[in-house]
Every structure is written in C-alpha cells, then in structure tokens.
C-alpha cells in the first residue's frame, strides 16, 4: 500500500502540469457497487482532447466497469462525469453516442446478417418521407469508410467479414457521429499484427483530429506504441496515473499487481529429463500452425509465446485431437499420438487446460465435485458404469483442500465461485490422476493476484514433481519468469527458441512482430 501512496503524488502532478489542456472527459470519484462487489472505488479519471489514455490493470481491476460507465452502459452508484467541462448524466449508450462518446467493446454490437452500411446506421437510418433512403445511406457509408481508409465494401454482410474487419465496422460506426471520445476495449485481442498496426495508424489519425482515446490493454508493447498517459487500476481503485515515458515494465507490473515480481513468480528448480512431448513439422488443416516443431521434457516448463492468433493455442489443441492435422507427427511418452482423441491423451497422462473456463473448461451449472471428477469417472470413480461416489467425494475434498478453494464447498454450483476459484477448480481437474504432461493455455486469464500466485506455485510443484509443462501464454512476464525454455510463434510458424538467460523481454518481443520492426 505504501507503494500506492508514493506513486499517487507524482501521478497528480502529471495531471496538473504541462500547460494543462482542458479535459474533454473527466470522471470524479466514480464508484460502482454491484451486488456484493465494489467494482469501482472512488476512481478519478481524466481524458484530454488528442491524447491516448491507456487503462491498465489485471482482469477484475475495474477497467471494464470504468469504460462501461463512460460509455453509458452503467450509471455509477456514486460520483459524476463531466463532458466538455459540464456535468452530464448519461442515460445510455445511445445518449453517449449522440454526445460523441463512442465505445468499441470486445463483444461487438453488430448484426451479422445485415451488411456493413446497414450496421453503420443501425438506429440512425436516413429516411425520406418515412421510407429508407438507401442511396443516401450508401453514399454516406462509402464516404466514412474512405475517409478512415478502411478497405471494406459497404454492401458486404457483416458475417462474411473477418474479426478485424468487423472491428473496423465498429470503429467506423463510432465515427458516423461527431466523435470526441473513442473508447477501445482491448482492440488488438483478436487482430493479427498487421491489422493491429492499421488500427494504431487509425488511432493516431483520431488523435490528430482532437479525439480523446481511452485505450484498455494489458499489453506493455502497445502502451509504448500508442499511449500518452497510463492510469493503473487495481481492485477497483486508481493506483497511479503516469506519463508513458515514465513507465517501465517493471514499474507497471508492480503497480498492477501490488507486489514485487519476486513475490509473484516462484523460483522453479528445473530438472529436465527424458523427452515427453515431441511435435515435429506439424501443420494443421486451416494453416494456423505451419511446419512447427517443439519438444517438452519431464521436469521443465516450456513457454509458447506469441501474439493472440499466432497459432500457439492451436498447437495445444492439436495435441488433443481438437485441430485437424494435415502433416507432421506428435509423439507423447515415446508413442505416436498424432490425431488421438482427448480420451486417449487423458488416459496416457496428458492434460489440457483450455483458456476460456466458462466456454470450454467447466460445466457452470454443476457443482465442484462433478466438475473435478468429470474426466476421470471412467478411470477412477466407477465400476461397471456405476459411480463410486464415496471415492469421488474423498478425492475431490482432498484436492479442494490442497488448492485452498474458497468457499471450501464441493457441492456448490460453480456459479457461486469467483473467477479465481473457478480457475482452481479447472486446475483441480488435472490433479485427480497422475498426469505427466500439462498443457496450460492462458492459465491466469481473469484471476486475481492471489490466485495467480497459487497457480504459479502449483506449476512449480508439478514441474519439480517431474511433470512436463507446456505453458501457452500471451502474458509476457509469465513466460519470462516461469519458463526455462521458450518458443516464440509468429503467424503459425516457429520464430525462435530461447532458453535460460536468453529469455529476455527484448528477445521474446523481437520475435512477436514482423521482422522489419524487430
């Protein structure tokens, strides 16, 4: 906490200094109380015209809540917003939009069956004598797309577009009205880096026109690329606001987590042994993975880094028969397992933790016990198809204790647990049986620092216990501090293999992007 106090003072001086241009948007002591959760706690925020103000923080820190209040989705339980110096009371997204405050969220608000121009003017159609003026609509849509330099055809249905193109439509939609505040919520999360670069250019253009941009991200690289100022949030509170040049990664991480790095990441004693997983020249049917080779030995943590969409996730999925493989070979524990089913891989001692626990990891409507035992009912908890519920209960209870699940109730539905505790349940699924290889895909997405530490410690214990771990992660510090060897992927291909001392931020990042930039 002492940390927060020391950083707050210079933060405010940054706000006041440098000829203090009038803020276009200012939030005063915003609080947001959800049932049982204080999502925002008296947060001040200020956005100047023509700046990119980055919101930085862990998942659950309050970034989303803050931008949703600014965009008119929620009304704050306390505090107020000033727009152009005057207090305003946002009635909803539409109201915010008419004022010139537009947000592009990760969940798009597009109607997939309608085309680009219909989406652009949805709710604000051009009419003549009560009928749609489609010609005028088309002309205006084309004009906007051309002005923004987006290579989109106005009459294409949105569902035919790539995610990046859909995002362009969202952004273009923001520009349809007079725009003074643009809010972007992790806009590069699903973009290739070329698309991301185009986005950055567009953000620069918006800046030049005097638009204030609120930019939510947790990627350090992007902050430096386009950010002017950063506000760091943690546990619903503003921890600091600082200018980008002042913010090195170490400092940001410390502000974000409230801890020094050595407290977050445990020391792991690697004991690399026999090869466990060997992937050679793997290519998947959709070419998200191209000619990729890697290996994981027992007793080591191997990182697999790269931008979102570089194919690193698909490598993990391919090992479990979840991606169609056109060529290459996957061997596990000395046997060829190319294209084998999840069942076979589980039975042989490999476990996969998917990145999205709600989507693919857990059955939210069922309780902890049933979720944890699900993969192992056949192998461990049933005889002739009948369940051995006593053994199941005992095992799950034991695991829940070891993982320190809160609340420690194996019979409660998963909906009753926090994100971090849900993640622990997902982890527990892999600890029921003796597993030799763990493939973690983004194991710490959406969890608090405490859980993060607990998960890292588990990775350490597993590794030191002789398991092999493939850590697929977009979280760079995770790769830097946990892996003893790491691969970096770029557009489906293996770009680099680094080990030991060589795993540095610069060397990993250098391989994230196009060669020309590196």
């Amino acid at each position: 906490m002492g940390l927060a106090a020391t950083t707050l003072a210079p933060a405010e001086s940054v706000g006041a200094a440098t000829n203090a241009p009038t803020p276009v948007l200012r939030a005063n002591a915003l609080s947001m109380q959800f049932p049982g959760v204080l999502a925002l706690d008296r947060v001040d925020f200020e956005l100047r015209a023509g700046e990119v103000h980055v919101l930085f923080g862990e998942n659950g820190a309050g970034k989303s809540t803050l931008i949703q209040i600014l965009a008119g989705v929620y009304r704050p339980t306390e505090g107020g917003i000033e727009f152009g110096g005057k207090p305003i009371d946002l009635q909803g997204v539409h109201h915010a939009r008419t004022l010139g405050i537009s947000a592009v969220f990760q969940e798009f608000s597009l109607v997939p069956t309608l085309n680009v121009e219909e989406n652009l003017f949805l709710g604000a159609e051009v009419t003549r004598h009560g009928f749609l003026d489609n010609g005028e609509l088309h002309r205006r849509a084309e004009a906007i797309l051309e002005e923004l330099g987006f290579p989109l055809r106005a009459r294409r249905p949105v569902h035919e577009l790539t995610r990046a193109e859909q995002q362009m439509v969202e952004i273009a939609k923001a520009f349809c009205t007079r725009l003074s505040v643009l809010i972007l919520d992790e806009p590069t999360a699903s973009l290739t880096d070329r698309e991301a670069e185009r986005l950055f250019v567009m953000v620069d253009q918006a800046k030049k026109r005097g638009v204030g941009v609120v930019y939510v991200t947790h990627r350090m690289g992007e902050i430096r690329r386009i950010g002017d100022r950063i506000t760091v949030l943690r546990d619903g509170k503003r921890v600091a606001t600082l200018a980008v040049p002042e913010a090195d990664d170490e400092r940001l991480l410390q502000l974000m987590t409230g801890r020094v790095i050595s407290q977050v990441f445990p020391k792991i004693a690697y004991l690399p042994g026999a090869p466990l997983l060997e992937i050679s020249n793997l290519t998947t049917a959709d070419h998200t993975v191209k000619d990729l080779s890697l290996s994981v030995r027992t007793g080591e943590v191997v990182g697999l880094a790269g931008l979102v969409g570089c194919g690193k996730s698909e490598v993990g999925r391919a090992c479990f028969g979840l991606e169609r493989i056109v060529s290459g070979r996957i061997a596990f524990d000395g046997r060829d397992v190319t294209g084998q089913s999840v069942r076979t891989m589980l039975d042989r001692g490999a476990f996969y933790l998917p990145p999205d626990r709600r989507e693919e990891g857990l059955v939210m409507a069922r309780n902890v016990r049933e979720n944890v035992s699900l993969p192992w009912l056949g192998a461990r908890f049933s005889h002739f198809g009948f369940l051995d519920r006593r053994a199941e209960r005992a095992t799950v209870r034991d695991l829940v204790g070891r993982l320190n699940l809160q609340p420690r109730n194996t019979e409660a539905d998963l909906e009753h647990f926090s994100g971090g505790n849900q993640q622990k349940v997902l982890l527990a699924k892999g600890l029921v049986s003796r597993v030799k290889l763990f493939i973690f895909d983004e194991p710490t997405v959406g969890v608090d620092v405490g859980t993060r530490v607990a998960i890292y410690e588990f990775i350490r214990d597993l590794c030191e216990g002789g398991a092999g771990i493939l850590l697929i992660s977009s979280d760079l510090p995770e790769i830097l501090h946990l892996a003893n060897r790491t691969y970096v992927m770029y557009r489906g291909e293996r770009r680099a293999e680094l080990s030991g001392e060589d795993i540095t931020q610069d060397k990993v990042l250098a391989n994230f992007f196009e060669r020309a930039q590196a």
Binding site: R343, M345, L374, L377, G378, S382, G385
Partner: protein
Amino acid sequence: MTDQIAARRVGLSVALQRLFVRIGVLPFLLVMALIVFSALSPRFLTSENLITVARQATYLAIVSMGQMLALLTGGFDLSVGKIIAITSVITAMTMAPLAAAHPDAIALTLTLGILAGVGAGTLVGVVNGIGVAVFNVSPFMMTLGTATISFGIALTLTSGVPVYGIPDAFGTIFSFARIFDIPSPVYVTAGLFVVMYVLLNWTRMGRYFYAVGGNIKASRLSGISTRFYLFMAYVLCGLLAAIAGALLTARLETGEANIGASMPLDSIAACVIGGVSLRGGIGRVGNVVLGAVFIGLIQNGMDLAQIQSYLQEVVIGVLLILAVIADQLRQFVMLRLKD
C-alpha cells in the same frame, strides 16, 4: 423496535427466497392445488380419487422422465406423442393375429406384441439420436420430422381405424390389475422411476447427460464421447415413451394412431414445472415425476370441479407459462442471494 421488526421481516423474506431457490416453484404449486381443489370438491382428497390421479398420471410421468433426458442434454423431443401412437399400433397389430391363431399362447402373444411395439417406438428414438448426434440436426426439426413420419406410418398401417383383437389379458394385467389396491401401471412407473434415479445419480451415463447438457465443449475436453451420450438420451427417451405407449394400449384395449397428441407439450410442461432447465444440464427426476403428478392433479381437480375440458387446456397453458416465469424469477433471486 421498528428496526428489529423490519430486520425480522427481511430475515423471513430471505428465508422464503432461499426456500424458493432450493426447491423451486413446484411444491408451492402442489400445496396451492391441494388447497384449492379440496375446497372446490369434497371428493378430491379421498384415497380412491388419489389412486385415480396416480393411474392417470403414470403415462405422463413415464414420458416426462424420457423427455427429461432430452432436455438435460440441451434438446427436446417432440416425437414422444407419435412414438406412443406407433407403439400402440404395432403392439395391437402384432397381438391381434397371434391371439387369433394361437388363443392359448397368451404369454407368448403378449411378450411378442410388447417387444414389437416397444421396439418400433424405440427405433424412432434411435433415428432421432442419429439425426441429432451424428448429423447435428436441431432437435426441434429432427423430432418434428420423425413425429410426422411415425404418425404417417401409424395412419397408413391402420387406415386411421382402431385396431381390435388384443387379448383381454393384456388390459387385465397391465392396466386393471390391482395389488394392495394400487393399479399395476403405477408399479411399472415406480420401477422405472427407481431405474431412472439410479441412472441419473449413480451411473457414469447419468452424470455425462448432465455434463453434456451443461457444457458440451467442456465435456468433450474431459474426454467424454458427447455424440454417444446425445444419441443415448434420445434412444432412452424413445424407449420410455414406447413403454408408456404399450401401457396406454393396455388401458384402451385397442391400437390407436390418434393417441398421445398432447404428450410432447404436457411432458415438457411437467419437466419445466419440475425445475428442469430448458438450457440443459439441470433437473431432478423426482421433481419431474412430481411435475407430472401435478398436471394430473390439476386435470383431475378440474374434472371434479366440472370445469369443461376445453377450458382445462387454457389452465394448463397458463400454468406452464407461469412456471417458466417463476423459473426466471428463481434465477434472478438466486443471483441476488449469492452475494
């Protein structure tokens, strides 16, 4: 003082809300129905009448247990009514000529007739299962399609005329016989209930039905053959509907293509009133049977209160919608209480 009273009032309302979340809307509805109908008719709460209710509710209870499996996996089965129809027709058409040719081989006639009828009904379930699990046809279209096909076949086979000639023993044994004053179909239902209870709570298959309906992707990643369990849900649903069809044939003593028309809706209603989630993954078989009994109770109570049958349809429809709204409310209260 007033603070204390207010606090106590809040405590009571929270306790009520908790009870509501835990047991759902059904027990409240049952109690209300019992009170209302006992007041309307003195004959309602007699043991004879309650046995009648039990007998009437058995068929729906069996079908609802099958329907529950389809709902648990996130689908539903609209063909249960026509499965009953085709089972009835095939059972009768197998028994009638056998009974005429070998009047003394009653046991064999009954066995073959039941096997043929239930087999035919289950076959519809198999087709449903293949369509949904293998070809990814939506359960709505798939079961609507097989319902139409089955009905067409049943009508073609019978030309729309009831099939007579079923041996009397069939009706005697499977409908009118009483042991300790309780009709035989009730025993069959009780037996099936025990089987279903064990299946859903104590076997791997049962657990997997819940898991597949709760999150099919997570189930797949847990190494479950989701296709097989989707398939099995429809096969078992077909089997249960077919058993109900055979029992209903025993009661009517003829093979009819025109029975079971209201079964799809009534069975889904029984399940939903019993707390089965239409999104899949949630539901208890005990409550489903209670849901079926509740619908039987309502129909019987309205009969006694001399409410005409057309109007009864209105009441059932209203209750179904109310049950769904109550379920939404329950979700809402649950989320609020969570904190």
